[in-house]
Structure formats: C-alpha cells, structure tokens
Amino acid sequence: MTDSLDQIFVRGKQLLLSSMAHAPDWLVQIASSLINIFALLAVFLTLFALMSVLERKILGRIQNRYGPNRVGPFGLFQPIADGIKMLIKEDIVPARSDKIVHFLAPVLIAATAILALGIIPYGRGMTPFRIDGGILFFFAVGSTTELAVFMAGWGSNNKFSMLGAMRAIAQMISYELPLIITVLPVVMIAGSLAPDTIVAAQAGYVFGFVPRWFVFTPWGAAAFILFFVSGLVESNRTPFDVPEGESEIVAGHMTEYSGFKYATFFMAEYIGMFAITGLAATLFLGGWHAPIRILEFIPSYVWFFAKLNALLFVYVWLRGTLPRTRVDQIMNFAWKFMLPMAFTCIVAAAVWHYTGRGLRGWLWSLVVIAIVYTVLSTLLDTQKKFAPRTYRFAE
Amino acid sequence: MTLTLQLFLIVSAALFCIGLLAALSRRHAIFILIGIEMMLAAANLNFIAFWRFSPEPRQPAGVMIAIFAIAIAAAEAAVGLALVISVYRHYRTTNVDQLDQLKG
C-alpha cells in the first residue's frame, strides 16, 4: 500500500508509455522525456504561483500586516490575477536597444533555470533525467545564467541595466566557486556525481535513529551552510539582492523589461531558487529519505518537497528580516571567507573519511573546521567596522 | 544513416577552417581569440571522435587529452583577454592592424 503510494507517479508514467508499446523506441524515449518535462513544468509552475503569494503573505506576517487577501480564499488566486495583469501589459522594448539580445535574455534565463531542475531526484525512482554527471550538469547549466543576465543588461542599452548585470555577474562568479567547492566533499564521500547515488549514500541511520544525512557531519554542516548562503547569492535574494536593489539601481538588469518578459525573469529567479534548494536538500538533507524510520511510510516525494519548502521558508524569512549588504562586503566575504572555508570542508571530509567515518572522524573533522574558522575569523576581523567604500570603475 | 568517423572529421575540419577564417580575416583582437578557441575545440572534437571510433576504447586517452586541452584553452583565453584589455589600455585600440610595434 505505502509502496504503491510511493511509486504512484512512476507507475503512472509506465502506464502511459505502455500504451505506445509498438512504437519505435526513439519515439518512446521522446515521449517519456516529454512526460517528464510536462510533469516538471506543471509541478514547479504551480509551486512558483503558490510561492509568489505565500512569500508575500509571510512577509506580511513578518511585517505585522496581512498579505494579499482579496483575490480568492486567503488571496490564493492572487498569482492568477498577477499573471493576467502581466500578460495584458504592454511589452516595451527600448528604441536603441539590441532587439535580439533583449528578446533572447529572458528566454535563455528561464530555459536554463528549468533545465537545472531536470537532474534532481524528487522521490524514489523519480529523477527526470539520469545523467552520470548530474551535479556537473546542474552547474554547467547554472553557469549559463550569467550569460543570460549579461545579455539582459547589454541588450536593454541602459546604464542601470548594465550596472545591475555587472553586479549580478560579479557576485554570481564570486559565489559560484564556494557553491561548487562545497559540493565537492559530498561528491568525494559519495564517490559519484550522480544525484541518485548521492541520495542513496545518505540512506540508513546511525545508532538507529540519527539519519545518515551529510548535514549531520561537521564538514557536511559547514558545507551546507556555505552552500545555502552561496545559493542565496546565486539566486540574487535578499540580503544579497544588490543587482536589483530598487533603492540603488532601479531594478538591475530587469529595468527595461515589462509585461510577460518581466514575469519570465521573476519566474526564472524563483525556479532557480527551487533548483538550488532542491540540490541542497539532495546533497545534504538526504534527498527524499525520511528523517525517522517510523515515518518512512510517508511517500518519498512528500519528504523531498517538505524539505524543499522548509528551505524556501528560510529564504523568505531571511528576506523579511535582513537588510541588504554592500557590494564590496559581498565580494570580500566571498573571496576571503567563503572560499577558504569551502576548501576546509574538503580537507575535513578527507579527514573524516580517513579516520574511519566514525565518531573519531567526526571529532577530528570538527577540530579541523573549528581551527580554520577561528583563524579566519580572527584574521578577517578588521576593527574598522564602517569602512568607507572604495570605488573601482571599469575602463 | 550510420555515423562514421569521416563525418565527424569533416565537421571538425569545417569548424577548424571557420576558426581560421575568424582568426585571419577579422580585425578585432577578440575575434582572433574566438577563432583560436574554435580551432582548439575542433581539435578536441577530433580527439574525442578518434577515441570513440578506436578499436579498443578501454583506455580513454583521447578523452583525457580533450580534458587537458579544455583546461589549457581556458587558461589561454584568460590570458589572451587580459592581454587584449591591457593592450587596449595602452593603445586605446583593439584593432590588430594598428598594433604593429613588432614591425622589423
């Protein structure tokens, strides 16, 4: 019973495919991938719609006001209204802009964001595209986002857009390193780049009750935090939303976009967010594994989306509480703290592995991380708290 | 239609020649870099193709060489673009016709 409930979607897909049993197999391949794609889009567009309204409601609660509550029950139909508004808005394209680039940018950014979703295992046997180097695929596609952002900035020939794009790319590149390097320890320990294997490596429990998730090891915890922060930056969320900081540069690279293109950017940002959080859950929070053995009867995908939504809630929470950081602060943080700590995580993971993955390894890796952390924080602690910002211009 | 090694070689040859074209006939320094990168990529394509079609592909030598070539190409691009920028700083141009200080 539970098993069937768990595998219900897989079964469904098989059912659909079996209907075209006597078709050439390349057709079957295409069909199955199409099914996957449609499933993905359906789920995540819905999630996006929900998220957009929930975020506003949560922010409202944080700021001690009601969020949107007019359209539909609890304002749940708000996203539909927004969608209609966006669709019927006029699509303004600046006269002096580079039309093609300006048009391609949102398409590319949305496409890459959705592609990144493809490799995440959403449940037992529910990985849309099984690629041997799935993680690498994720980052390869993710790195394309920078190009898209740049296109947006360049295409809409506008200084705010360009500045925003520059800022965005700068911080994306800076945080891509920690993001990727914090994944390496997991890859090292799991011995594979395939998300499924990594999730499988986190199955089971220590002492029967602590799940074998990587976040419960010192290096895993550190890597998870680093990964989470970098992910925050990658998806340009507060407190790292300088690229589209309304108060500074109108809306960054999205300044010149209106109507549905703007909506596309918006969606791309959210979907990127889902992808990052999903990967975080997969890498560190044991993917679709249940936290307690008793609760394993609950279907795996439920667990996965529970974790996903928990992380998303943290995103919103941070946005509601933290002020925006300064560009130079972000950069210094990336290069002077995040990167060394990320490398430390690798070392710590190696230590953990070679001291026998047990309690001893746990302590040793904890020691390594603690030492490096204290050293770094003492070194980086400049007494001048409010340093005047030093400006540097591109020629 | 079955894929033979020949097809890949032809494609890579075409790619190589397009790269050569870009490197030879464009004036802007960046184009030269783009062309060079293309030629390198064509070479990589050849390596991979030869590996795939080799009688015993247990030893992925071609793949290895391709990986190293990519790394080296990345380094080359970084340094090359840095050069372009610094040249631009000095001469206020990236037009390689005007950069003939090496003239004998």
Partner: protein, 664 residues
C-alpha cells in the same frame, strides 16, 4: 638500556643544541641564558648517571652503536659511539665539574656585557668534550676534538678587546693545531693500514685483535702521531706553551680547560687508544710508550720547577696542571692506565676547585692576580680559604684523606715497577716535592701574612660562587674513598678485572714515602716563605726568598726557561723569514716575469691589430653591407601583424598537407 645506547648521542647533543639556542637569544636575556645552560648541563649529568649505572653491573662492560655516515666508492665510512667504564666515568666527571663551573660563573661573570655569549660557549665546550668522550670512531673523536679546540679558542679569547687575550687564543689554537696535524696524519695512516676508524666493532675495530693484527709494525708510528695530538691538547712538553697563556680567559674558562674538558682530552685520547700504544709490548714496554713516559716526566718536572717562580695565582695553577698532566702521561706510559685515569678524574675535581677558588680570590680582590699583592685573606674569605686549602692538600697529594694522594701513590707504584728505567720514578718523587712546595708558597702568599695592596678591600664571594667550591671540596675529599688501594673498586671498574680489597692495603710503604715527600715539600715551603708577607702592607711586593737566594735560577724559572722566547727566535722567526722571502719573491721576481709576459703580449697585439685594419676588416665590411641589404629585404615581409604571420603558418600547414596527400 638499549634505548640508552642508541640515544647516547643525546649527551653531547643537548649542550650543543642549547648553546645554539643561547646564541640566538638576545643579549639582554641573561637570566634565561644562564638557566638554559645550567639546565642543559643538568640533563647531561642525569644522562651520564643513567649511562653510568649499567656499566656497574658487569665488569668490562662495553656497548657500541655504529652506523654508516656515508659511503664513497665501495667502502663506507662508519662512525658510532661507545659506552664503557672509561667513557662513563669521564662523562660523570665532566658533567659534574662542568655544572659546578657553570653555577660558579653565574656569579663570576655577573657584570659582563657578553654574559649570554659566554654561557653559549661554555655549554658548547662541554658538549664537544662529552662528544670526544663517547666517540667510538677516531674520526668522530677528531671532529669533536676540533670542536673542543674551537670552543677553547673562543673562550680564551673571550675578552677580545684585550690584545693579550686575542694573542693567547691564537697561540692556543695554533699550538694545538700543530699537534692535531700529527693526529690527523695518524688517523689517515691508521685508516690506510687498518681500513677502519672504529674503535670497537665486533672484533673488526682498530683497537681489537683483528684490526691491531692488520696494523702490525706501523702501530708505533700511528701511536706516536696520535700522541702528538694528545700532547698538543694536554700541553705536554714541546707544546705546553699555550696552556699558561690560556689564563687570559675568564677564570671559569681556565677551570673548565684545566679540569674537565680541554687538557683531559689528551690524556683521555691516549687512554682510549692505549691498545695502539701497547701493541707488541715486551713486558709492558714499547717505543711509543717510552716516548710518552719521557715526555711526561720532562713536562712534569719542568712545569713544577717553573711553577715555583710564578707570581700570577692562575699561572701557578696552570703550571701545576701541566705537571699533573705530565704525571698522568707517565702513568699511562708505564702501564698504569687505571691509575692515570683515576688521577685524571681526581685532578678534575680538585683542579676545578683550585681554579674556582682562585677565581673567587681574584673576584674578591677586584681582579688582582699577583699573589705578592695579596695576603691575609684567611680571615676575609674563610670559605674560599678552607676549600682552597682542601684543594691544595689534594693537589700536593696528602695521602689518606684527600683524593690525588692515593692516585699519586698508584702512579708512583706503577713508575717504580717500570722495567725500562728507574730514573722517571726518582724524577717523579722530586716532582711531588716541588708540587707541595709551590702550593705551600701560594697558600702562604695568598692567605697568610698581613694584607697588602691587592687585598685591602677584599670580600668574601657571594653564595652562588662559594657553593660550587664547597661541593667540589667535598668531592675532592670523598672521592678519595674510591681511590684508596684499600678498596680499589674504581681500579677494577676501569680495568674490568676483578679486584679483591682488604683494609690492610691501606697502610703500605708507598704511603709513607709519599707522606714523607709531601711533608718535606710543605716543610720546605713553610721554612722558605715563613717571612713572606710579614712586611707591612705599604711596601711594594718584596723580592721572593728564592729570588733572594738564587737570582739567576729564579730569573730562569720566572721566564719559563725562556721557552717562549726560544720558540720566538726559532720557529716563529723561521716562519717570519719564510714569509718575508716569499713576499720579496712575489714583489720582484714573479711580478717582473708577469710584466714581461704582459709586454710581449702587448707587442703581439699591436702587430695583429695592424693586420686587422689592413686585411680582414675590409672583407668584413663587404659582408656586413651585403647582409644589411638582405635584412632590409627580409624585414619588408616582417609586417609585425599577427594575422599575416598566422596566415603564413596556415599556408605552410596547407603546403605540408598537400605534400602528404601527394606522397600518399
């Protein structure tokens, strides 16, 4: 235990390392420097005791640890260290005496600006000496030997600003170097003939039967050459001149040199390689040993005589050292190895005691060293006086109660039993008398009589200086317990043969002999110098009674038999002349020749340059002109544009391709 053997090297290593540490300290870290040095010495002492214990278990205990230093060609150069009674006893003595001296010098050097450097050198010195003691390879021993030489050089010349000190340091270094020359030759010869420099190596060592057998007749020469080194270090007759001058160094250094480290090295060396000396002995007599004996006798007597006429408190002690060393050499030469070493150990204690006492006196008298300016210190510095008296007794060999006495008896025994000749024996007896005499003289001058210019404002030394004195005095007294023939345990321990001891041997003819001799010496001294220093304090240092009686003889002795002058006239003069001559040759002959060659070359140059101008240049010009034209042509193609070059490369590739296609 085995751990101890494998890590025996720590004993010299620790002081050496610590000396380096101290050198790296700042000048102002005086306390830490002293503390470090002393701690290092304590550790060394502890190790020495640990090393000493196992040697007690079995008679003739010996443990060696050899390893290959490096290999050249097919043969490896092996070094190592050895632990046997000789080494253990020496280590104990060196570490203990060294420790006392270190502590003493904390007080003595208290107001010296190079305090830290001093302690660095001191522990360097001790470390090097300990290395000499434990070395199991003649090469390793030589290395440490030279380190000892270096340390002595540094320490004797410690007060560089004094030219005399610098001179003394140089003298010591060069003189010992003369000896070391022979030593090194000996080493080479030994390695050549026996193929190994290890002393003990499971029967293959150069001191063991196999090695000795290989050595054969050349042993004599090897032994003599090595003895040169020993003579140089421990100031035997021809090369003793540096030792008295070494007094220029600070007193603790003198103590160290004379008691524990430097001079002991020579005697120790002879004892260590004794098998080389005694190889092929006919009832204990070999040519080399005979040489040793005669040199020793000469040294002993001569030094004792000179000591009588010296005025400098430290010089007297220095000459006494020389004579004592002579004594030891004699005893080694006549076959009383154990006796010699025992005397060396005992001497280590009481000579250190005497020197430190002298140091305390000098300190008290504000660096006055002339005994004729002192006097009446008996009451002013009681502790010093008592301890010094003990030292004097021990040195002059008062039997029964003081170490030195019984060892002297042993030596006299041995000398008396020497088959070759009995002359050395009588000479030694004389030496004993003289020793007692000059020590009495010194005591009377320094401590009795009434105060004189130097000792007006004398004061007792601080506790840190007196404590070591007391310790050493106690050693000097109680050490005699193990030296008496009654309980000749140490003898057996050193020689490794079982000894039976009965109390009856305590009283024996030799005892009375030496008693008589010492009594005679002291009595003579008291009689001669009874009036010394009785004059009132204002008068200038009065003439020495002996000088009063025998002016010529006194002059002769006072000027150290004019040996230094003799060397000046002969050796050094010769060296100077050589230098002058070669200098002259340089200036005139060689220089002239070189100039001549130069002129010839110049002429040739002029000639060739003419040829160049006329003939060759013209041709060259033509060629260059042609080249330039060609270059102009070429450089036209050199447009400096990358793309052109790139295109040319591409065309070249195309050509290659076509060539290949044409071939295929």
């Amino acid at each position: 235990m085995s751990w101890l053997i494998t890590n025996l090297w720590l004993i010299p290593a620790i002081p050496l390392a610590i000396s380096l540490v101290i050198l790296s300290l700042a000048k102002s870290r005086r306390k830490s420097a002293a503390a470090l040095a002393i701690v290092g010495q304590v550790i060394a002492l502890a190790f020495a005791i640990f090393a000493f214990l196992p040697t007690l278990q079995t008679p003739g205990f010996r443990a060696v640890q050899n390893f290959t230093w490096f290999t050249f060609g097919e043969q490896a150069l092996r070094i190592g260290w050895v632990l046997d009674p000789l080494a253990a006893a020496m280590m104990m003595m060196i570490a203990l005496v060294g420790l006392c001296i270190f502590i003493f010098s904390v007080g003595y050097m208290a107001d010296d600006k190079n305090f830290t450097r001093f302690f660095a050198y001191l522990s360097f010195f001790c470390g090097a000496m300990l290395g000499v003691v434990i070395a199991n390879s003649l090469l390793l021993l030589f290395i440490f030997w030279e380190l000892v030489g270096l340390a002595s050089y540094l320490l004797i010349g410690f007060w560089i600003e004094r030219p005399s000190a610098a001179a003394a340091a140089k003298k010591a270094f060069i003189t010992t170097r003369i000896g070391d020359m022979g030593f090194f030759l000996g080493i080479l010869w030994l390695y050549h003939s026996s193929g190994t420099l290890l002393f003990y190596d499971e029967g293959k060592g150069c001191l063991e039967s196999a090695g000795l057998a290989m050595l054969g007749a050349s042993a004599t020469f090897v032994a003599l050459l090595i003895f040169c080194g020993a003579a140089g270090k421990s100031g035997q007759f021809p090369l003793h001149v540096w030792l008295p001058d070494a007094m220029e160094g600070p007193t603790p250094v003198s103590a160290l040199i004379h008691a524990a480290t430097m001079v002991a090295a020579g005697v120790f060396l002879v004892a260590r390689v004794y098998p080389l000396f005694s190889l092929g002995a006919i009832d204990g007599v070999t040519p080399s040993l005979t040489v040793v004996v005669w040199i020793g006798v000469t040294t002993a007597l001569m030094a004792a005589l000179i000591a009588i006429a010296q005025a400098d408190i430290k010089r007297i002690l220095a000459y006494s050292t020389v004579s004592q060393l002579g004594l030891m050499m004699v005893s080694l030469g006549v076959g009383g190895v154990a006796a010699g070493i025992m005397h060396l150990l005992a001497h280590g204690f009481f000579k250190a005691l005497l020197f430190l006492g002298a140091g305390s006196v000098i300190h008290g008298c504000h660096h006055e060293q002339d005994i004729r300016k002192m006097g009446g210190l008996r009451r002013l510095m009681p502790v010093t006086f008592l301890t010094y008296a003990v030292g004097m007794m021990a040195l002059s060999g008062v039997p029964l109660f003081f170490s030195g006495g019984s060892t002297k008896e042993e030596i006299l025994h041995a000398a008396a039993r020497w088959p070759a000749s009995r002359l050395p024996y009588y000479l030694l007896l004389m030496g004993v008398i003289l020793t007692a005499l000059y020590m009495t003289r010194q005591i009377i001058y320094v401590f009795f009589g009434n105060r004189r210019a130097g000792s007006l404002h004398a004061h007792e030394s601080p506790r840190v200086m007196t404590m070591p004195l007391i310790v050493l005095a106690l050693c000097a007294i109680f050490f005699s317990a193990v030296l008496t023939p009654a309980w000749s345990w140490l003898h057996g321990y050193l020689t490794g043969e079982r000894v039976h001891s009965e109390i009856s041997r305590l009283i024996q003819p030799m005892l009375f002999v030496s008693l008589a001799l010492v009594g005679a010496g002291v009595g003579l001294g008291v009689w001669m110098y009874r009036k010394a220093g009785m004059q009132d304090r204002d008068r200038a240092p009065e003439t020495d009674p002996l000088e009063y009686a025998q002016p010529a003889l006194f002059r002769f002795l006072e000027n150290r038999m004019w040996l230094d002058e003799f060397y000046d006239r002969t050796v050094i003069a010769f060296a100077t002349i050589c230098a002058r001559v070669s200098d002259w040759m340089d200036r005139n002959v060689w220089d002239g020749l070189v100039r001549g060659f130069g002129d010839v070359g110049e002429l040739f140059g002029i000639f060739t340059s003419n040829v160049d101008e006329r003939g060759i240049n013209a041709g060259v010009d033509e060629t260059t002109a042609g080249t330039r034209g060609l270059g102009r042509l070429m450089s036209a193609a050199h447009s400096g544009q990358i793309q052109t070059y790139l295109g040319v490369v591409a065309i070249g590739m195309l050509v290659l391709l076509l060539f290949y296609a044409w071939l295929a």
